[in-house]
Symmetry: C2
Subunit: 231 residues, 2 copies
Amino acid sequence: MKFTMSTLVLMTASGARGQQPYHHGDLRNALVQAAVGLAREGGPAAIVLREVARRVGVSPTAAYRHFNALPELIEAVADVSGAALARSMEAELGSCPQTDDPRQAAWDRMRAVGRGYVHFALAEPGLFTTTASRERRSAGGVGSARGGGGGERGASGLSPWDLLEQALDDMLSVGMLAAEDREAAAIAAWAAVHGLSYLLLDKLAALPSAEREAVIDATLDLVGRGLLVRD
Amino acid sequence: MKFTMSTLVLMTASGARGQQPYHHGDLRNALVQAAVGLAREGGPAAIVLREVARRVGVSPTAAYRHFNALPELIEAVADVSGAALARSMEAELGSCPQTDDPRQAAWDRMRAVGRGYVHFALAEPGLFTTTASRERRSAGGVGSARGGGGGERGASGLSPWDLLEQALDDMLSVGMLAAEDREAAAIAAWAAVHGLSYLLLDKLAALPSAEREAVIDATLDLVGRGLLVRD
DNA sequence: TGTGGCAAGTTCACGCCGTCAACATTTGGA
DNA sequence: TCCAAATGTTGACGGCGTGAACTTGCCACA
């Protein structure tokens, strides 16, 4: 799974540009795009307002017509990144092996969600850490987490968290997951993929990519096994 | 589990102070202490060199006699924080319920390690995020992760990662964990507690602490169940 | 017992950052 | 047509990390 720049541009860039001076026409999106570029290279800390303005060819303070302050711009980048994460999960869901066994299908989808999450983290660490750092900035507990920020939805209109819950619902409906475990399972599954992403990005960064896939599969298996209804 | 400032001071502060001018006597530790204070309040990003110097009562550039640059000071704070994390895990291990059943004991110790990790993250989010961000800065794969940075060991001389591996060894030796799952189990367990910590800190920050404990226990149970040897 | 060198402080300066206030330019609607 | 709002610019401020050059005090050695 690779995320080309065009993939990201698709969702925000629009509107034809005229000449150059004064009225840009679509400055807000241009700023977000430039900021996304910086975030890809160095995570949220690399989003430097003056550099963003420089890349767009505009004065630094022009950004203040569209964002109250830098964190707001970073937030916008986090939304874009969250949406890209959701699309990564959706993509992996789309390439799920076909099967007639509904239990196997539910299991496959669960793993696909996890793989999409981890793969995005590995493919776009800068964007991943930007979305991941998003929650720490804004308040709002489970509720806001459920719905997603608003801009972080994938093509299906679902946030990463929604996609996870949907996969759990699948498992629930085919009797693989105990109803009383649903809540804890959502948290455990999210924690596992999120933590695994950080582990692979940080402590296991040197791992060859073949081994990496094995680690991902093994971890998803182990954790998934814990979620299954007790026999 | 609470971590008082004195707990943290214990390990770095030392050496009596003379008068004030020019030769401080123990400036390096004083700087680290002040930086720890800032990190506690606002995480690694809150460690501002000039403010650290201000708090110690020294000129900003004095720090450069002891650290090549700011990241090196942050690294030192991360070491202190990692050691505090290890001590939190050790403390929880120490208050493990006594039992004659070795399997139950291994299980309890495994859960204690996880609780110590998560509880530290909740009690000291600033220090936790400082250690957690540590690995992303320095290179070095699994090897360095195994050993720990050097300064991030607890009272027992073990790093957080060491403590986790030790708990897994306990489970292995009483036949609760399949030998071929050891590697994956370590990763899965770490990922789970790390991810859970972030979830509780970020998305579930609003959760009442009573519910929080329930979530922690439920998650550790679910994940732990997945590690167990198949019957 | 000097004394000289070196470690550990200081001051000053530079360029970068985010942000504010005041000003300039475009544009769209009465 | 014209004016008000929206959008961009300039200039300035304080704060940041850091480098260079200077100063102070301690200790090892003659």
